[in-house]
Amino acid sequence: MATTAMLHGGWAIVLGAAVYWFGAGRRAWVRWLVVLMTMALCLVPGPPSPVYWLGLMFQAPSLMSAVLCLAYVMRQGRLPSRGRAWLVLGVTGLVLGGVLLLDMLAWWPVSVYAWGFSTAALALVCLVWACFWLLWWGRHDGLEVTLLLAAVVVVFVLTRLPTGNVWDAVLDPWLWLVLLVRFAMRGARRVGRRLTSRPGSPPTRA
């Protein structure tokens, strides 16, 4: 029951946020109407619902994706503030996703995914959460990340959603791919800036 609720509710939030993002520039009431219609459609059982097909391919989204998308919609499309805490969280997610992907391909001597069912893995996530809290609580971005992690950890501990494995709660492959693309674009921009600012390179036009 809880798993089905996570499947439908999680995708309703994620798709609602995606539709909200695509609807930028439209009238507010049109945008919200489409978001609500999309979310309502996600709650319909069976093949008419996009969840029936998304679940077939991708199962349920992670709690992290659901909470991030919910925050995005509730803040009416305002992205999180820039800051070191978000950067560190993104890098952590990127590394974790790489480790889990290679784990699925049996690269590691022990199964990292299987470890995600244990309290020890939850303790590691809590330790990361505590680090953000201790290091960046006084900053706006630190507060946002700490509250985000708190929401994910508390919902996971109370419900075990979506699978009982803490890695599935904190990161899903779509979120990892988004991080990968964002960091790749960031890296490409940085390389581009370095190339254009190198001595002897032609001056950029204002």
Partner: protein, 374 residues
Amino acid sequence: MLALVVCAVVIVWDLAHRGLPTPMARAVMPLVAADFSQPPQRKGQGSIPMPYNTPAAHSSSLLALPASHADALMAFWFAGTRESAPDIGIVASSFERNLQRWRPARFVVNRFGLGQDLGFGVRRLGNPVAWMDAQGRMHLFVVATGLGGWAASRIVQLRQSQAGQSLDELSFEVERVLPLSWWWNTSFLVRAAPLPLQDGGMLLPVYFELGLKYPVSLRFDASGGFKGMVRMSDRKRILQPTVLMQTETTWLALMRDQNPQGHIAVAQTQDGGAHWQDLPDLALVNPDASVAAMALAPRQLWLVHNSSVQSRNVLDLSQSQDGQSWQSMQRLAQGKGTDEFSYPAMAWADDSLWVSYTDQRQRISWQRFAWPKP
């Protein structure tokens, strides 16, 4: 300081709600009274009836039923117009003790009903594996694919609903999709029978097959609760493990090997499945085909396997005392050319060893063997 206290509270809450740690797994040897110094006698054979107008069948699983049941054992397999067809479903039949015959087969799981219960679509079904928990409820593990072929598979655990115990009343409800990989929970499949444990639970051998292939064992408690997973081999081209008990905590896993050398791969655990080590391949040849194995008594290990390098047209029953050297005891089936007798399953019921296997991908055949009483 507050951060650490909050984290400690979360971890203590988690520990308190997880229950006790899972104890070391100890396997159960079947209670078999037979004189194994004598060769097995074939007591019966034939084909299990197929549902009407169903031309394709594959991958059977046998489940011994309690002595109080009207039937000795139940067989499950997948059937339809062809493998991977949209109409493929899971079929069941059972062997009546009184009349000594198989009941008419019926579909017990189809992909549309399963998709409805899961809340998301299922493209194809396959490889049912049955198990009975400590409360006498049947569990059925089936392969259900997402978008893609068998490599996009997930394992769905179904549990017998309370409707009734007979074949006519048999129905299943979804327990869970087993969470086995982070990458959208692909690509794990199940094929071989579980190893029963002394705590009433079992160890289910499964395998990963997206590009590379490796075996994994899953631990379940007495009520069918999923307790964890352990990779069984460092090798990357072996699949479809079947677990064979040597002692309570020392087990062998015999596996299909995709390498062209054509042998059966082996791994061993000496601590109840907590850790596994690869062993050298068996000397037995095998054409990259599924095998079934079962320990009937200490040093009485039995194996059903295809015994040709190139083809699945020969199926043998072999015996071993140590799991390393095997002796062929019976030829179960022999054909020519592209004939296929494959995907065997074994069970011990009513003082007999039962073997079922795919026969030409059209039906499930069975044979029954018994030994004199000691």
